[in-house]
C-alpha cells in the first residue's frame, strides 16, 4: 500500500464520485427543465444510488471483453448512464416533463452536492492540520 493509498481511503473516492454524480445529475435535470415546453422531449434522469453503489463495488455492468490491450475500456470512458424518466405524465405534445418534480429533484441534488463538498473540505482540512503541525 502506497502512501497515497494510506492518505486517501474509500471515503475520498466516494465523496469524489458523489460530487461527480451530483454534477452529472444536475445536467440531466437542467436539460429537463429547459425542455419543459419542447414538444416531443422525453425526460431523462440518473440513478444516483445505483451509480454510487456501482462506483463503490467497481461493477460497471457494461464490461466488455478485451481481446487486445489497446482496446478502450468502456466503463472508464462512459460516464454515469442517463435513463429515461417516467415520473411525469405525457402531455398532448409528447413531452413528459413535470416541472415541479424536476425543481424538487434539483434542490435535493444540489443539497447532496453541497453536503459532499463540505465533508470533503473538512477531510482535506485534517490533512492540512497534519501537514502544518510539522512547521511549528
Amino acid at each position: 500500500m502506497s502512501l497515497i493509498d494510506k492518505l486517501f481511503d474509500k471515503t475520498e473516492t466516494g465523496l469524489e464520485k458523489a460530487l461527480d454524480l451530483a454534477h452529472q445529475r444536475s445536467q440531466a435535470l437542467i436539460s429537463n427543465i429547459s425542455n419543459a415546453e419542447t414538444p416531443g422531449y422525453r425526460a431523462v434522469d440518473l440513478d444516483f444510488k445505483a451509480e454510487l453503489a456501482r462506483a463503490f463495488n467497481g461493477q460497471s455492468g457494461q464490461e466488455l471483453k478485451k481481446t487486445d490491450p489497446r482496446h478502450m475500456d468502456v466503463s472508464s470512458q462512459s460516464g454515469a448512464r442517463l435513463v429515461a424518466d417516467n415520473a411525469g405524465a405525457t402531455k398532448a405534445d409528447g413531452n413528459n416533463v413535470d416541472i415541479d418534480i424536476m425543481m424538487t429533484r434539483m434542490q435535493q441534488n444540489q443539497g447532496r452536492y453541497t453536503d459532499a463538498a463540505s465533508i470533503l473540505r473538512k477531510k482535506l482540512r485534517f490533512f492540512m492540520t497534519a501537514i502544518r503541525s510539522a512547521e511549528r
Binding site: L29, I30, S34, Y41, I99, M103, M106
Partner: protein, 142 residues
Amino acid sequence: MFDASEVVTAGLSAARLRINIIASNIANAETTRTPEGGPYKRRDIVISAESAPTSFQSSLDEMTLAKPQVLGVIADQSEPKKAYQPGHPDADPDGYVAYPNINVVQTMTDMMAATRLYQANVTAAKSLMEMSREGRRISSTF
C-alpha cells in the same frame, strides 16, 4: 454531450422569446391593420429538442442531453374573427371588420405558464452556479 450551462442558456432564451411573442399577441389582440395587409396574425414559436452531435461517446450512452432550439416563429393562418362595424375604416363592403383570432384570456394564461418556465430556468442556472461555487470552495481549503 452538451454542457449544462449551454442547455440552460438555450432554455432561458427560448422562454424569453416565448414571453416576447405572447406579449406581442396580447398587445395586438385588436390590431386590424398591418403592413402586410389584413388583421394581425397570432404568432407562435416552434421549439425542437436538439441533441448533441453524434459522437462515439454519445452512441455508447443510452440517453443524451438535449437543448431546446427555436426553429422559427410562425403566423397563425386561421380565419380572423369578424365583427359587424360598418363605420370602421377597415370594414369590408359588407360592413364586417376582421379582428385577430386571439383569445386574450387564454393568451394571458399562456403568459403565466411562460413566465413560470422562465423562472424555472433561472433557478436551474442559479443552482448550477451555486454548485460550481461549492466546488471551488473545496480547493480554497489549501
